[in-house]
C-alpha cells in the first residue's frame, strides 16, 4: 500500500468535516466538525512527516493539538454563555451580522 | 545640523491642532485664542523661511532629508523653491484671517454638555489642514507628498460636513443633508483622483526605483533613467488627474460649488484659496518636472480644458442665484487661468500662474469672507434676498466691491498682474488661445458687477434695513487683505523676484524657451 493513501483519507475527512460545518446548525456539532477538520490536517501532517523523514510535521501537528485544545476551551465557553442568554445553541440564531 | 525650519513650520500648526483639540469644553474662547496664536506663530516661521530663502541660490533650499521607510526608499525629504516658498507664505498668511473670520462660526447652539466641543474641533481641523498643506508644499519626496495630499481630505471632510451656516433658506434639516452630500462628494472626487495618483506613484517607483523628486529629475536629465514614451504618458496622466480634480479643471469641477456653497465662508476660503492650490502647485512641481515630454504631449488638450474652464466657469457664475456658488464658479474660471499659465510653457505664463495662485488666494479670501459676513447677517445665501445693502452698510459694501474688483482683475489690484502675465504668456505661444481666454475678463466683469448690483445697490430691502456695518473684528480681517491686494498690484516685484528663478528652472526642465519677439525692438 502506498502511504499516500493516508493523505487521501485526510482529504476525505477534511471535506466531510467542512460539509458538516456548513450543514449543521447546532453549534456544538459544528464545533465537533471543526475538530474533525483539524484532526484530518493532523493526519496529513503526520503522513508528510513520514514522507520527508523529519519530525517537523509532527511538531506542527502537536502545536495544532495544543491550539485546538485552547480553541475548544474558549469556544465551548462561548457556546455555554450563548446558550445561557439565548436558550439555544443554533448558529442561525446569531445572525446580527445581517444589515 | 541647522534648525529644521521647514519641519518646524509644518509641525507648529500640527501640534497646535492637537493642543486646540485638547482644550476642555468650557474653555471655548481659550481654544480660539490658542488657534489664532498658533497660526500667527506659523506666519512668523513662514516669514523667517521667506527671509532665509535666497532667490538666486540653489534650486531647493533649507532642505532636510532623513530615511523613513528604507525598504521602499521613502525619505522624509523637504525643500522649497521660489514657488513653494511663495505659496507657504500665502497659506500661513491666510489662516489667521480664516480663523478670525470664523470666530463665531462654530459656537455650539447649547453649551450644557461637557463633552460637546465643536469649537475646539473646528479650529483644530483648520490648523491640521494648514499643517498638511504646508508640508505638501515642502515635500520633495513623491511618496511623502502623496500622503499629505491625501490626508488633508480628512480634516476638510469634517470641516465641510460638520459646520455650516447658521441659517439656511430651507431649514436645518435640509442644510444638514446638503452638507453631507457636499462633503461626501468632495471626498469621493478627491479620493478617486488620489487613488489613480497612488497607482501612478507606485508606477513611478517601479520605473525609477525611488521616490525622490530631485534624484529622479536628475537621473532623467543626465539620461541614466530612461522612460518609455507610453509609460511616461500614463504616469503623467495619473498624476495630472489627481491634480486636475483638486484644482479643479473642467469637467472634474462639480464638487467645488457644492463644497463651497455648503461650507461656512472661512472653510470655503480654505478650500479654494489654500487646499486647491496644492493641485496647481503640484502640476508645476511634479507633472512638469517628472514628465516633461508627456507634459508637452498633453498640452493641447489641457489648454483646451483650461479654456473651457475659464469661459464655462464664468458663464455659470453669471447664472448662479447663490452668492457662494457664484464665487465657486468664478474660482473655477480662475483656476482655468492658472492651469493655462502653467501649460503655456512660457516664463510669463508660469510666473503669472504662480502669482495668480497667491493673488487668487488673497482676492477670493477677501471676497468670500465679506460675503460670509453678509450672509451671516441676513441668514441667506440667495442673491435675490439682498438689495440696497450699500445704503445701510457702506463699509461692508465697499470692501465687497474691492473684493469683486480684484476678482475681475482690475488693474492696480494684484490679480491683474498675474492674469495679464498668464494671458501674455499664453498669447506669445498660442495666440488664438490667448484671445479666447481674454473673453474671460469680460465675463468676470459681468458676474462680479451683476452680483454687486443685485446685492448692494437699488432700493433698500426691508430685511436688510437693520443690517449692521462691519464690526472691528471683521474689519481686521478684511482691511489687511485689501491692503495686500493693492500693494501686490502696485509693487509685485518682491514676489516675482522670488518666483522667477524657480520658473526659469522649471522651464529648463521641460526644455522650453520663451518665443523670441518677431523683431528686436530698439531700446
Amino acid at each position: 500500500m502506498n502511504p499516500v493513501n493516508y493523505l487521501y483519507l485526510a482529504a476525505l475527512l477534511f471535506t466531510i468535516g467542512a460539509t458538516g460545518v456548513l450543514i449543521r446548525r447546532n453549534a456544538i456539532v459544528v464545533f465537533m466538525c471543526i475538530e474533525l477538520m483539524l484532526n484530518a490536517c493532523n493526519l496529513a501532517f503526520v503522513a508528510f512527516s513520514r514522507m520527508h523523514g523529519n519530525l517537523d510535521g509532527q511538531i506542527i501537528a502537536f502545536f495544532t493539538m495544543v491550539v485546538a485544545a485552547a480553541e475548544v476551551v474558549v469556544g465551548l465557553a462561548i457556546i455555554v454563555s450563548l446558550f445561557r442568554s439565548r436558550h439555544s445553541a443554533s448558529v442561525d440564531d446569531a445572525s446580527l451580522m445581517k444589515l | 545640523m541647522s534648525f529644521p525650519l521647514l519641519t518646524a513650520t509644518a509641525a507648529l500648526p500640527a501640534l497646535g491642532a492637537i493642543a486646540t483639540a485638547a482644550v476642555p469644553a468650557a474653555q471655548r474662547v481659550a481654544a480660539k485664542w490658542l488657534a489664532l496664536l498658533v497660526s500667527l506663530g506659523t506666519l512668523v516661521l513662514a516669514a523667517v523661511t521667506l527671509v532665509r530663502f535666497d532667490p538666486d541660490g540653489d534650486r531647493y533650499q533649507l532642505t532636510e532629508s532623513h530615511a523613513w521607510i528604507k525598504e521602499f526608499g521613502v525619505r522624509y525629504e523637504l525643500g522649497v523653491d521660489g514657488i513653494a516658498v511663495a505659496l507657504i507664505a500665502l497659506t500661513a498668511l491666510l489662516i489667521p484671517f480664516v480663523i478670525l473670520a470664523g470666530w463665531h462660526d462654530a459656537d455650539p447652539h447649547e453649551t450644557g454638555s461637557r463633552r460637546w466641543r465643536p469649537t475646539q474641533g473646528f479650529f483644530a481641523l483648520i490648523l491640521a489642514v494648514e499643517a498638511m498643506v504646508i508640508i505638501s508644499f515642502e515635500a520633495t519626496d513623491v511618496f511623502l507628498f502623496y500622503i499629505f495630499f491625501e490626508a488633508m481630505l480628512i480634516p476638510m471632510y469634517f470641516l465641510i460636513g460638520g459646520f455650516g451656516d447658521k441659517a439656511h433658506e430651507h431649514g436645518d434639516e435640509v442644510a444638514a443633508t446638503q452638507r453631507t452630500y457636499a462633503a461626501v462628494k468632495f471626498l469621493l472626487y478627491n479620493l478617486v483622483g488620489g487613488l489613480i495618483m497612488l497607482a501612478a506613484v507606485i508606477g513611478l517607483y517601479v520605473v525609477a526605483g525611488n521616490f525622490s523628486l530631485q534624484e529622479i529629475v536628475e537621473a532623467r536629465a543626465n539620461g541614466s533613467l530612461h522612460m518609455a514614451t507610453n509609460t511616461e504618458r500614463w504616469l503623467f496622466l495619473g498624476f495630472f488627474f489627481a491634480f486636475a480634480v483638486k484644482a479643479p479643471l473642467w469637467p472634474l469641477h462639480t464638487w467645488l460649488p457644492n463644497a463651497m456653497g455648503e461650507a461656512t465662508a472661512p472653510v470655503a476660503v480654505l478650500i479654494t484659496a489654500v487646499v486647491d492650490k496644492v493641485g496647481t502647485f503640484a502640476m508645476l512641481r511634479f507633472c512638469l518636472q517628472l514628465f516633461p515630454e508627456a507634459s508637452k504631449w498633453a498640452t493641447p488638450v489641457i489648454l483646451v480644458l483650461a479654456l473651457i474652464s475659464i469661459i464655462y466657469g464664468a458663464l455659470l457664475a453669471v447664472g448662479q442665484r447663490d452668492i457662494k456658488r457664484l464665487v465657486a464658479y468664478a474660482s473655477i474660471s480662475h483656476f482655468g487661468f492658472i492651469i493655462l499659465g502653467i501649460f503655456a510653457m512660457t516664463s510669463q505664463g508660469q510666473s503669472g500662474a504662480t502669482l495668480y495662485m497667491v493673488n487668487h488666494g488673497i482676492s477670493t479670501a477677501a471676497l468670500m469672507l465679506v460675503a460670509g459676513f453678509l450672509i451671516s447677517r441676513r441668514g441667506s445665501r440667495l442673491i435675490a434676498d439682498y438689495g440696497g445693502v450699500q445704503k445701510v452698510a457702506p463699509v461692508l459694501a465697499g470692501t465687497f466691491l474691492i473684493g469683486g474688483l480684484a476678482t475681475l482683475s482690475l488693474p492696480g489690484l494684484a490679480p491683474f498682474v498675474s492674469e495679464f502675465l498668464v494671458l501674455v504668456g499664453t498669447f506669445t505661444r498660442y495666440p488664438a488661445v490667448g484671445i479666447i481666454a481674454t473673453l474671460g475678463i469680460v465675463l468676470a466683469a459681468l458676474y462680479t458687477l451683476v452680483l454687486y448690483q443685485r446685492t448692494m445697490t437699488g432700493p433698500v430691502k426691508a430685511e436688510v434695513a437693520e443690517m449692521p456695518d462691519l464690526r472691528v473684528r471683521e474689519l481686521l480681517v478684511v482691511a489687511p487683505l485689501i491692503a495686500l491686494l493693492i500693494f501686490l498690484g502696485v509693487y509685485p516685484k518682491p514676489v516675482t523676484d522670488i518666483v522667477n528663478p524657480a520658473v526659469q528652472q522649471t522651464m529648463s526642465d521641460v526644455h522650453q524657451k520663451d518665443p523670441k519677439p518677431e523683431v528686436e525692438a530698439a531700446k
Binding site: - | 472626487y189 464655462y312 455659470l316 466683469a445
Partner: protein, 631 residues
C-alpha cells in the same frame, strides 16, 4: 522738474485715499480737501507747463522712472512717466476743467449726504486719468484706462439707490471691458511682435514688421478707443451714463474721459501711420459716429441725453480727424480741448438748470428760463455758439479745420468723409438750436413734480456760476488763441507730426459751406421749435425720430442678441452642469448604489452562508492552483 510728474498723480490719489478711508469725520471738510488737491495738481501742471515753454521744442519731453513694476523674463513693465506736449495739453485740460468741476460740485452736491465720497471718487478719477495720459508704456496706460473706467462706474452709479443708475453704471463698465479686451490683446500682440510695449521702442521699430501686424494692432486699439470714447459700435453706454450726477457728466462723459480714445489713437500715431487700412476704419468709425450721435441728439427730450448725443458726435469728429493721419492729429486734439471747454460748460449749464428745476431733465417741461437764470443763459448760450461753430468762437476754428482735413484726405474717401462732416455740422446746428430754444425761450411749460412741488427756477450759487463763467471764456477764446499763428500746431507738431494735405476745395469754400449749412440747420430748428409752441408731451414723430429716441435701436439689438442670448446661454449651461456633467458623476454613484443594493442581499447575516462562500472560494483557489500547474 521730472520729479513733479509723479506728484501730479499723487495729489488727487492722496485725496481719494483720504476721503474714501477717512470716514464720517471728514464729512464737513471733505469737499474742500478734494477741491484743494485737484487745484494743487493743476498748479503743478502750470509749473511744469511754464518750465516746458522755456525749452526748445525738441527738448520739451521729460520723463520720470519710478520703479520696475512687473519684471518677468523679457516682459518688463515699468512704472515710469513721460510728459511731452501732448500729455501736457491733456494734463492742463484734465486738471483745469477738473478743478473747476470740483468747485462746481461743492455747490451742486451740497444737499447730498454722501458728498465726501463723491469727491473721493472725483479725485480717484483725476488720478487715473492723469496716469493714463502720463504713462510711457501701454500697460501702465491700461491701468489708467481701467482706472478711469472704475471711477466712471462709481460715479455713474453714485445714486445707487436708483436701479437705473446702478444698471447704467454696470453697462458702462461692461461695454468698456469689451473695448479693454482690444487694448489688452493689442498689448499682447505688441509684446510678441516687438518684445516690448513701451511707447518709444514700439514706435521706433514700427518699420521692422509687416503691415498686417500693424493693422491688427491698430484695429485692436481702435476697439479700445471705441469703448472708452463711445464710438459705434460700442457707443450704447454713454446715453445711460447720464444717470450720474451732472458734474460727472461734464467732467468724465464730456470733457475728459471719453476723449481718452482720441488720445490713444493720436498717441499711437506711428502705428496708424504705417497701417492705412486701420486708419481708414478709424475714419469710417468717426464719420458714422458723428452722424449717429447727431441724429440721436436731435430726438432726445432729456437735456443731458441730447448733450450726450452731441458729445458722441463731437468725439466722432475727433476720431475722424485722428484717422486722417498727420493732417488731422493736431486738429483732433485741438477740437478735443475746445470741446472740453464748451461741452463742460454746456453740461454745467444743464446741471444748473436742473438744479433750479427740481432735477427735472425733460426739456419739454422747461421753456423761458432765460430771465430766471441769466448767468446760466449767457454761459450756456456762449457754449451753444461755440459748438455749432459760430465764426470767431472756439468751435469754429477747430471743427472747420477738421472738415478741411477730411476733404484733404483726397479721392472719393475725402469727399465722402468731408461730406459727412459737413452734414454733421448742419445737424449739430439743428439739435443745439433745439436745445437752446426749448430750454431758454418760448413760454413756461413747468409742471409740478410728483410730490406737487412747483419748481421755482433760480440762479445757482456762486460756486457753480464761477466755473461756468470760466469755461465760457474758454469756449469763446480758446480756439482763436490756438489759431493765432498756428501756435497749437507748432506746439504739438514735435509729438504728432503735421502735414498740410492737398485739399480739393479751398479753405474758404469749406468755411462758407459750413456757414450756409449752419444757418440752414439752425433755421429749421427755429422754424420747428421757435415759431410754434413746444408740446409738453412728445408727439409720436416719424419712424426716424422714434428710432432715434431709442438710440437708433442699438439697445434693442443688444437686448435681443446679447442680453437675451446670454441669459439663455447661461441658463442652459447651468442646466447642463447640473444634469450632464454632474449627472454623469451622480449616475455612476447611483448605479454603484443599485449594484451594492443587490449585492447586499447576499449578506444575510448567517455565519453558515458566509462559510459556504469561503469554502467555495477555497475550492476555486485550489482549482486555480491546479490549472496554473497544468498550464
Amino acid at each position: 522738474m521730472e520729479n513733479l510728474i509723479a506728484l501730479l498723480i499723487a495729489a488727487p490719489l492722496l485725496g481719494a485715499v483720504v476721503l474714501l478711508c477717512g470716514g464720517r469725520r471728514l464729512d464737513a471738510v471733505g469737499h474742500w480737501i478734494g477741491t484743494a488737491l485737484a487745484a494743487t495738481s493743476f498748479v503743478i501742471g502750470i509749473v511744469l507747463f511754464a518750465d516746458m515753454l522755456g525749452k526748445n521744442a525738441e527738448h520739451r519731453a521729460i520723463s520720470q522712472y519710478l520703479f520696475s513694476w512687473i519684471p518677468v523674463g523679457s516682459f518688463q513693465a515699468d512704472v515710469s512717466f513721460q510728459l511731452d506736449q501732448l500729455s501736457m495739453t491733456f494734463v492742463l485740460l484734465i486738471t483745469g476743467v477738473g478743478s473747476l468741476i470740483h468747485l462746481y460740485s461743492v455747490g451742486y452736491m451740497e444737499h447730498d449726504e454722501r458728498r465726501r465720497r463723491f469727491f473721493g471718487y472725483l479725485n480717484l478719477f483725476l488720478a487715473a486719468m492723469l496716469l493714463l495720459v502720463l504713462a510711457d508704456n501701454y500697460l501702465l496706460l491700461y491701468v489708467g484706462w481701467e482706472g478711469v473706467g472704475l471711477a466712471s462706474y462709481l460715479l455713474i452709479g453714485f445714486w445707487q439707490h436708483k436701479p437705473s443708475a446702478a444698471t447704467a453704471a454696470k453697462k458702462a463698465f461692461l461695454v468698456n471691458r469689451v473695448g479693454d479686451m482690444g487694448l489688452s490683446i493689442a498689448i499682447m500682440v505688441m509684446f510678441t511682435t516687438f518684445g516690448t510695449f513701451a511707447f518709444g521702442p514700439v514706435f521706433d521699430s514700427v518699420g521692422k514688421t509687416g503691415e498686417g501686424k500693424l493693422t491688427a494692432i491698430g484695429l485692436l486699439l481702435l476697439l479700445a478707443a471705441c469703448g472708452k470714447s463711445a464710438q459705434v459700435p460700442l457707443q450704447s453706454w454713454l446715453g445711460d451714463a447720464m444717470e450720474g450726477p451732472t458734474p460727472v457728466s461734464a467732467l468724465i462723459h464730456a470733457a475728459t474721459m471719453v476723449t481718452a480714445g482720441v488720445y490713444l489713437i493720436v498717441r499711437s500715431g506711428a502705428i496708424f501711420n504705417a497701417a492705412p487700412d486701420a486708419q481708414l476704419v478709424v475714419t469710417v468709425v468717426g464719420a458714422v459716429t458723428l452722424l449717429f450721435g447727431a441724429i440721436v441728439g436731435c430726438a432726445k427730450d432729456d437735456i443731458k441725453k441730447a448733450l450726450a448725443g452731441s458729445t458722441m458726435s463731437q468725439i466722432g469728429y475727433m476720431v475722424l480727424a485722428a484717422g486722417l493721419g498727420p493732417i488731422g492729429y493736431v486738429f483732433a486734439i485741438m477740437h478735443l480741448v475746445t470741446h472740453g471747454f464748451f461741452k463742460a460748460g454746456l453740461f454745467l449749464g444743464a446741471g444748473s438748470v436742473m438744479h433750479g428745476m427740481n432735477d427735472e431733465v425733460d426739456m419739454r417741461k422747461y421753456g423761458g428760463l432765460r430771465t430766471y437764470m441769466p448767468v446760466t443763459f449767457v454761459t450756456f448760450g456762449l457754449g451753444y455758439l461755440a459748438i455749432i461753430g459760430f465764426p470767431g468762437l472756439s468751435g469754429f476754428f477747430s471743427k472747420d479745420k477738421i472738415i478741411e482735413a477730411a476733404f484733404a484726405k483726397g479721392g472719393t474717401e475725402g469727399w465722402i468723409l468731408g461730406g459727412a462732416a459737413l452734414l454733421g455740422a448742419a445737424i449739430t446746428a439743428f439739435y443745439m438750436t433745439r436745445v437752446m430754444i426749448m430750454t431758454f425761450f418760448g413760454e413756461k411749460r413747468w409742471q409740478p413734480d410728483t410730490e406737487g412741488h412747483e419748481p421755482h427756477p433760480h440762479e445757482s450759487p456762486r460756486s457753480m456760476t464761477i466755473p461756468m463763467i470760466v469755461l465760457a471764456f474758454g469756449s469763446v477764446f480758446a480756439g482763436g488763441l490756438f489759431s493765432i499763428g498756428d501756435s497749437f500746431v507748432h506746439w504739438l507738431e514735435p509729438v504728432t507730426g503735421h502735414s498740410e494735405g492737398n485739399s480739393p476745395v479751398s479753405a474758404l469754400t469749406v468755411t462758407l459751406a459750413t456757414m450756409v449749412l449752419l444757418v440752414v440747420g439752425a433755421g429749421i430748428a427755429y422754424a420747428q421749435y421757435g415759431r410754434r409752441p413746444v408740446p409738453v408731451v412728445a408727439p409720436r414723430g416719424s419712424l426716424l425720430t422714434r428710432a432715434a429716441r431709442r438710440d437708433l435701436l442699438q439697445d434693442d439689438f443688444n437686448h435681443v442678441v446679447l442680453v437675451r442670448g446670454g441669459e439663455h446661454l447661461t441658463r442652459s449651461l447651468v442646466y447642463v452642469d447640473h444634469t450632464l456633467v454632474d449627472g454623469v458623476v451622480n449616475g455612476t454613484a447611483a448605479s454603484m448604489g443599485g449594484l451594492s443594493g443587490r449585492l447586499r442581499k447576499l449578506q444575510n447575516g448567517y455565519a453558515r452562508s458566509y462559510a459556504v462562500s469561503m469554502f467555495g472560494g477555497a475550492a476555486i483557489l485550489i482549482a486555480a492552483t491546479l490549472l496554473m500547474r497544468a498550464v
